[in-house]
């Protein structure tokens, strides 16, 4: 049985670990932590052997239905699960319904099911389809089918209620199939908390989900663009108070460093790593400081001088499929833009001096700038390596700060304005 060891709770922040989980009994998932973001089951741009060159890769991997659902008949015939199929069987696998790096299209869910968008277009998933996929994939954890289409500003109260009702209904149906399934004996189902920005609905969703035998909770519909920061904070606090302490809480598409720290303070345990992927896609590198050892002078000099109000700059954060210009406009103050010719064409320093990742140990800003200018694939490989390394290090720093009682200092360091 899965064990949640909560070693400390400091001002709402939870720190601890999960053991004996799913099909990977020997794995330990430390929280607050993040899951490795994947596309089609592989880390973006990184083959397994290149991924091995990073020394901080999380034990847990997030796979997503939009990028994998089309393969489900093949994986069923394969008979050895999605981990083996994608070459990631060494990892703990969590399967989410949507892709946190892509803003889901609105208006395509229906009473009996949910739509996800694969490379070949719309895939309609009713409960039976969804459970057939999980039986073929056999992940350690999976997010229950859910209707989280409440993020757009004009969502009515009625629509929000419907999303809660549908999601609870999906959960009951999925649980019934799950409990009878031999294939899913080693898998655990996570309930999904919906309710948009309505406190009442959030609480109803949380209380009802708690009554069901779920292994943990997914906090859905809290994306950056869905609501104001204050609203999110208040809703998260209220919801997490209702949830039992001994079960993990995962949030999706809340992965910018300052947002992560706020969510940790509310009691969230797990995050996705779609943020470093999005940073990579726009040709940028994460350089924000999170430890005294990292060279904050370098950070100050290189980080993008963003507008002061960071909530404003990320409202379109989730569009990762936009044009290059769109991507550039989404830059945050946590990254440096290696496309910048004036700054980096002849800058032979590493991306982040002092960083121990493969990219920084072996290559220069000028080289990566050159690779970006010429559209070479290696640019994304190197940036993805650095950005993952930096982001995973950030989570290690969060855990360490909670053990040491220095979380507030960390928060100040991360959220400080660039000079």
């Amino acid at each position: 049985m899965m064990k949640v060891l909560l070693s400390n709770v400091v001002n709402g922040c939870r720190v601890g670990s999960i053991t004996e989980v799913g099909r990977h009994g020997n794995k330990v998932l430390e929280f607050p932590g993040c899951l490795l973001y994947t596309r089609c089951g592989s880390a973006p741009h990184l083959t397994y052997d290149v991924l091995q060159k990073l020394d901080t890769v999380p034990e847990g991997v997030q796979i997503t239905l939009p990028t994998l659902a089309e393969q489900h008949h093949v994986v069923k015939d394969f008979q050895q699960g999605i981990g083996k199929f994608t070459g990631m069987e060494d990892f703990f696998l969590y399967c989410s319904v949507q892709d946190p790096a892509v803003r889901e299209a609105t208006g395509y869910n229906f009473n009996k099911g949910v739509s996800v968008w694969g490379p070949g277009g719309r895939i309609k998933l009713e409960v039976a389809d969804f459970m057939a996929i999980q039986k073929a994939f056999r992940p350690d954890w999976y997010q229950c089918l859910c209707d989280g289409d409440t993020a757009s500003a004009d969502t009515s109260t009625k629509r929000v209620r419907k999303s809660v009702d549908r999601t609870l209904n999906f959960l009951d149906q999925c649980l019934e199939i799950h409990q009878k399934s031999q294939e899913l004996k080693g898998s655990e189902i996570l309930g999904v908390i919906e309710g948009g920005d309505l406190l009442e609905e959030r609480l109803r969703s949380a209380r009802e989900t708690c009554k069901r035998p779920v292994a943990g909770f997914v906090l859905d519909g809290f994306q950056s663009f869905a609501m104001e920061r204050e609203t999110r904070k208040n809703l998260l606090k209220a919801v997490l108070e209702v949830l039992p302490e001994d079960k993990p809480r995962i949030i999706h598409a809340v992965s910018r460093p300052d947002e992560v720290l706020e969510a940790v303070e509310c009691g969230v345990d797990f995050f996705d790593s779609s943020f470093p992927y999005q940073v990579t896609e726009r040709g940028c590198a994460l350089v924000f400081p999170f430890s005294k050892r990292s060279h904050s002078d370098v950070c100050d000099e290189t980080m993008i001088q963003g507008p002061d109000d960071s909530s404003q700059e990320t409202t379109e954060n989730q569009h990762c499929r936009g044009s290059i210009e769109d991507k550039r406009s989404q830059r945050t103050k946590f990254e440096m833009d290696l496309n910048d010719k004036e700054k980096y064409a002849c800058d032979f320093r590493p991306v982040l001096p002092g960083c121990s990742c493969y990219c920084c140990q072996n290559h220069s800003r000028a080289y990566i700038h050159h690779l970006l200018q010429t559209g070479e694939l290696l640019a994304r490989v190197l940036l993805m390596m650095h950005n993952f390394h930096h982001y995973f290090g950030f989570f290690a720093a969060i855990r360490e700060s909670l053990h040491q009682g220095t979380f507030q200092e960390l928060k100040t360091m991360v959220t400080q304005r660039t000079k």
Partner: protein, 409 residues
Amino acid sequence: MAVKHALSLKILAECPTTKARVCKLVLPHHTVDTPVFMPVGTQGTLKGMLPAQLEELDCQIILTRIRLNNYGPELLDKADGLHNFMNWKRALLTDSGGFQMVSLLKLAEITEEGVKFQSPHDGREMLLTPEHSMAIQNSIGSDIMMQLDDVVHSTTKGPRVEEAMYRSIRWLDRCMKAHKRTDCQNLFGIVQGGLDPELRKICVQEMTKRDLPGFAIGGLSGGEEKAHFWRMVHLSTDYLPRNKPRYLMGVGYAVDLVVCSALGCDMYDCVFPTRTARFGSALVPTGQLQLKNKQYARDFRPIDDNCSCSTCSRYTRAYLHSIATQETVACHLVTVHNIAYQMNLMRTLRQSILEGRFPQFVQDFMDTMYPSRNYPVWVVEALAAVNINLQKAQPQPDAPLENIANTCS
């Protein structure tokens, strides 16, 4: 007294039957085992591969094409050469830039001074001279640099071929004069002469009068008939000095590598293995697998059961089918495999020469590639010219392999 070159060639073994040989080619940055296949990179990178991956794949030397607009000599001087800029510690070979001018740019015009072309960048007219090419390659700091030559399409006939051959000799002299770093970089001459045996002979005899560290056979592998191709290679290696490396440009199909090694070539380059990888095409001993094809959707075997590359030890054809041409990871995985295939082919080829069983290696290789023993005529003829008679092959049952027949155009 001969000039001291920045390389040495030690012949380890020569096949008693054919002209094949195994050498240690000691270059400033690395020692290379020949016959060697050199993967081709552009823009100071090899198609998404980390330098560490190339080392793990046992690549000892890579070729990098120079593009005139992107990294100027100033940047490379500041970066202290291309080795440093791309962090590649082993050997590098650079081309002169001339071939690309001619093959990629329709508006290139060749005069005695150099190659005049329009910049693909901003449309400005630019002139690439032998001196300019040497200056760039000196800035790059490659272990082997190529002369600027006057390349004509391999199917061209008439006086243009002769003119280009003689001009290439004149340009070679200008390159030798302009080459500033003979102590740490090696300049190779390129034998031209189209498909005319007389011109080839004149060119190779004239060029080998000059004390150069090595020679290339150029102007081939451009769509000419294979019957002409192998005869030009055969003739060139007959006249090239035994104690210097012989580089056959633009060749990379497995069958060609095996035949041309029998004809006495030491070095090869081609974009094919890495380019085809990016389209989801994987190299196997029986030919190629087009991984995008539906037949692989439920094929849970690795690309090649006998391959020990990191792709084959972890991924199935079915998974690669599902991500090919969709995720960049697919490009990387097939690129790793295809480079591993080329490296493994050359390693086993060298081993067979060292162990004195090269003819048997050739026989086995051809029987795997052509299970029905329908060897291409040119292969039979070329090998017969070096005393390997393929028709003596023992009949073997045809295996039902996924052979996309290697057409060897």
